[in-house]
Point group: C2
Chain length 122, copies 2
Amino acid sequence: MEEQVGRAFVEHYYHLFDTDRSSLASLYHQSSMLTFEGQKLQGVHDICSKINQLPFDKCHHLISTIDAQPASLAGGIVVFVSGSLQLTCEEHPLRFSQMFHLIPTPQGSFYVQNDIFRLNYG
Amino acid sequence: MEEQVGRAFVEHYYHLFDTDRSSLASLYHQSSMLTFEGQKLQGVHDICSKINQLPFDKCHHLISTIDAQPASLAGGIVVFVSGSLQLTCEEHPLRFSQMFHLIPTPQGSFYVQNDIFRLNYG
């Protein structure tokens, strides 16, 4: 089950990121945390400000691997992604790894409680 | 707090891995899960069999980054590590990323509930 949820979430997340970054706000809550290249942010407002202000206009995420596991008896899921990020301003794609800790909502979907992103330097 | 716990855990984990791999059994429980390069394992026995049977004798983990966040109100912590793995049989170190979801024990320490490991291919 967690594999299907993880894959569906990841495809949805990066589709929004690549097409309408501001709409990612719907996937975070007030308690959510993002660590982006070592910078810690908390809450929908600060997280989405960071994402919206990243210094590139267009990007395309290409996913290499998705691993998912149940994180708790309460229905949480941890998802670990590796892939590459193609920016229009850069010739070569950037390799990245990212993890998400997803928490189920009463409405039957999931929100991101924990999000940690790192570029992989070779 | 979670930064200190994350760093202490990561240093302890890779020290054991590099000096006495079999002793890592103490850090996993029956409910623990490991996904190693896409292969899913559950429980202390299966996880430690996998780790002990990795096809190299000696290795050295060099840590590049450690990011940690509280994962729940119950005291869980997610830790995200990037680094490189030097094998005695390989000239070049292998870049990796790994995440841990740590759960507090009644004794005041932590065990690994979720562990996902991936090599980063360039």
